[in-house]
Symmetry: C2
Subunit: 206 residues, 2 copies
């Protein structure tokens, strides 16, 4: 990927995250990236292919991290859950614009191939977490829980915070200038909430 293509993609990410795919015009994109409107089609072929390139380019951003945690034998099962929580919060907070683009898109019933691509990005992570939960249950360290729904809770909690700054700040009683995703103290607060929640829910004895 050339610098120019990356430059366009990175600028496109901001606009797509802010205004959605249909809400963003190629002229918007070109203006923001400081290039001629024809360059988008010259480099990517179409607006939709630019979007796909964006997803593909950023798709690798999680791969491997969860595997490392899961295969690290110095962690017991609940510690793995803890590390996964921190990993998710850290990664999604820093890559929140891309994450927002993914979730906006997967809510729609359009652009079938792109939806599949997004599932391919997100689902493997879920599988890894599921493995940890089931291992814990087999050993009797974890209570008998509904693993897929535990994942939905974990992911959904972070998403709820991440996807609407306005709603999040309202919930927290903060004013609208506050950016929770850039506040390390808030990341910690969320992390501790989720850990406390998962400990109480999963562990057979506290």
């Amino acid at each position: 990927m050339t610098d120019k293509k990356l430059h366009i993609i990175n600028n496109a990410l901001e606009l797509f995250a802010e205004k959605g795919f249909e809400g963003t015009s190629i002229r918007d994109l070109a203006a923001k990236a400081g290039v001629n409107v024809a360059m988008v089609n010259y480099y990517f072929g179409s607006k939709e292919k630019l979007f796909e390139s964006l997803v593909e380019e950023r798709a690798t951003y999680t791969r491997g991290v969860l595997d490392e945690i899961v295969n690290n034998n110095s962690y017991n099962d609940i510690e793995k859950i803890d590390r996964i929580i921190d990993s998710y919060i850290n990664k999604w907070f820093t890559n929140r614009k891309f994450h927002r683009v993914l979730h906006r898109e997967i809510m729609l019933n359009q652009r079938e191939t792109l939806q599949q691509a997004i599932v391919d990005i997100l689902y493997p992570n879920s599988l890894i977490i599921k493995g940890v939960i089931e291992a814990g249950m087999r050993k009797g360290v974890f209570r008998k829980v509904d693993a897929p729904l535990v994942i939905a809770t974990l992911v959904g909690s972070i998403n709820q915070i991440l996807l609407s700054k306005r709603m999040c700040n309202k919930l927290l009683g903060k004013d609208q200038d506050y950016v929770p995703y850039e506040d390390a103290a808030f990341a910690k607060r969320l992390s501790e909430h989720l850990k406390q929640l998962m400990h109480a829910h999963l562990l057979t004895k506290s």
Copy 2:
């Protein structure tokens, strides 16, 4: 509100939920409702005002229900949480298209006034739940928890299930024909997961 306006709104809801605001054209809307394209502007003034009318028309769909639960003295604190969970699942599953429209819109940084309207719809419900949690904590029935984040978990868990059928089914290991939101057994399953989760997290003694 006349029948004709309601008819247009109800058809618009489906399209907006499926394709988003920008992704839906007035010609789409008119075709789906079986009326002339000019009727939308005749009745509502503009596409944006139609959207606002839609939100306004459906906005009252939760009001009062949570209040009833909270003010019912025959429930103790954790039972109120249980009833709130069931109420949320039931209401959001049946009104899931409207709910999807709300959440698609609040993720964007466009249409400022509409965002405020959506916050005005959703936030009062959060306040009521917050009240229940804090009352439980004061009495020592509930553990010391992060009330706003508990709400985020509760709402976020249901949203995670609700906003993408594709991702939901992948998580549950179901095929894509399955519609979890129309399956009473699944509603029960989700309800029990959330109750178990909240009991473990909130109650000082199990």
